[in-house]
Amino acid sequence: MKIKHISEIAGALLMARWKQSLVAAVGVAFSISLFISLLGFMEGLNQLLDGLVLNRTPHVRLYNDIQPSQIQPIDLNAKYKNHHNFVKSIKPSNSDKEIYNSEQIIERVKSDSRVIGVAPKLTAQVFYNLGNIELNGVISGVDVGQEVKLFAFSDYVSEGNYFDLKNMSNSIILGKGVAEKMLAKVGDIIIITTGGGEQFPLKVVGVFSSGVIELDKVQSYTSISTAQKLLGKSSSYVSDIQIKLKDMSLAPAVALEFGSLFKIDAEDIQTANAQFETGSSVRSIISYAVGITLLIVSGFGIYNILNMLIYEKMDTIAILKATGYAGSDVKKIFITISLSIGISGALAGAIFGFLFSKLIDAIPFNTASLPNVTTYPIDYGLQYYAIAVLFAIITTYLAGWFPAKKASNIDPVIIIRGK
């Protein structure tokens, strides 16, 4: 039997009860659109919150950790070589945090095909001078171009122009909390004291707001060369190499590989920020559960309407079977009815879901910690549309399958005799 003819009969039966069919399709459309907008909103929020930390965190960080020597003197003694030794006399020395041969390492890492980019960094402990008070702080020396490209640095600079950091020597971008305490504005000169005791004047070229208030009270940024000057180090001094990968999930393997290759400490993002993934996935699961419940409820709507249709169209089914339509043909007809309600509802739902998302996207959402966010975040990922439409089709197929089976089992003799 041709699909065209099956669908023609299905269409005629559908039109005979077009109001109920429409209600069923609207039910599907409603649940699909809510599913899409709910998940898009939830995922947008997840990305925003995760981004607060994950955007700022390199996938792999190479650095020199301060660690005690693995081999203590007693281990070198042949007599005690195979003993368990408790005596550990050598403490960590005042070892340098400098990464040796940093330029060669950077070149090597850059040439790796898994890597998007590399950003060197160094950190200096300083004091911000406020009159006679000295405030603890951390100044990171960064390559602004790479930071903007890899870690969305520009999103967090709320005032001033971040490129001035590169163009102007002895410039600084202050954390928002620091700037407020120091009453510093863009263009002002502030004084800091380095760990070595020297005082340095720096020009404020911007204010930085990470969204984490505690961080903004201590953290400031300057260029690498300025930071090297603050520390009194040579122009090759770098304490961190930050690596961003194309695929974040490769980070633990890459960290291990680079760690042993360069004989250096390497930390991956999963180890550094395990808790964020957990939070995101739990939120996602909850929203998927709600969305799928909506779809199942709409499936019951279709089930009811098809059952009703079958009771009303007993005569039609009986006559089709009497004239030679097999039970399987009748089943196909009713599944076609169900699927056409499901698919039209799903397509309408996808469109309305997009419009709902647009609507949520337009609602103002201002928060002090996120300077560049003005409306509710929405993720317009195609995967939500695909999941919603796929799930709607599966649900409506099942909702149609049971009534269709019932219809296919109708005995025409009983119906025709019953008249």
């Binding site: 039997m1 041709k2 003819h5 023609e8 009969i9 005629a12 039966l13 039109m15 005979a16 005569d315 039609t316 009986a318 006559i319 089709l320 079977k321 009497a322 004239t323 030679g324 339509y325 097999a326 039970g327 399987s328 043909d329 005995d411 025409p412 003799v413 025709i416 005799r417 008249k419």
Partner: protein, 225 residues
């Protein structure tokens, strides 16, 4: 075996078991030849409709043997039986049973969709041809629900013809028609056997109608007498 036999029954028995065993049909054996115009008559409740549903392959709950076109219908699946009904048997019911959702022409050609031997255009041409032969060509594109009783019955006959079946079975085809329409339907049946060489089997309790047919099979209390 005579090649002209299109339908044959061999000692068909059927009983209802609720609430206790009642024999509806007892040892029914007869055969119909090609081109025969036969009617089954009998009192209400003598089992003639039940017999027709068994002959139509819709009811399979019986003992005995039914051969259509010299092929046994025993131990066939639902799909196979449906295919036999579709190809070899045409149906006309007492209450016409048109599908109100469709036009007259669509009603006529629906069984053709299932048979799937002819294209849609060919089916429509054939459908119009039969409607023309039945004198209701002008109604082809009306909705089935808008027709009068006599017209509906003629549409049902056209539908029974569409797959060019060997045998057409009718259950009280004139049961709720007036005399004028009954005569029209009879003339059509007569023509079907004479011109199209169809076998007709008509269940009726209208004796005057039955007397005009070529062969009368009388039933009483589940037996052929």
């Amino acid at each position: 075996m005579d090649k002209n036999i299109v339908l044959e029954t061999r000692s068909i028995n059927k009983s209802f078991y609720t609430p206790r065993k009642i024999d509806i049909l007892k040892d029914i054996s007869f055969s119909l030849n090609r081109g025969e115009f036969a009617s089954i008559v009998g009192k209400s409740g003598c089992g003639k409709s039940t017999l027709l549903y068994i002959l139509s392959t819709m009811d399979t709950d019986y003992t005995g043997e039914l051969l259509i076109d010299n092929e046994s219908t025993q131990n066939r699946s639902d799909v196979q039986l449906a295919a036999i009904r579709n190809e070899k048997i045409g149906f006309v019911f007492q209450f016409h049973y048109l599908l109100n959702e469709f036009s007259v022409l669509k009603n006529v050609i629906l069984p053709g969709y299932k048979l799937n031997k002819l294209s849609e255009e060919e089916l429509e041409t054939n459908g119009l041809k039969y409607l023309k032969a039945l004198g209701i060509e002008n109604l082809a594109h009306k909705r089935a629900s808008k027709l009068s009783g006599g017209e509906k019955q003629r549409v049902a006959i056209a539908r029974a013809m569409i797959n060019d079946p060997m045998i057409i079975m009718c259950d009280e085809p004139t049961g709720n028609l007036d005399n004028k329409n009954t005569d029209i339907v009879f003339d059509i049946f007569k023509e079907l056997t004479a011109v199209f060489n169809k076998t007709l089997l008509i269940v009726t309790h209208d004796l005057s109608f039955a007397e005009k047919t070529g062969r009368i099979i009388s039933m009483d209390d589940g037996r052929i007498v």
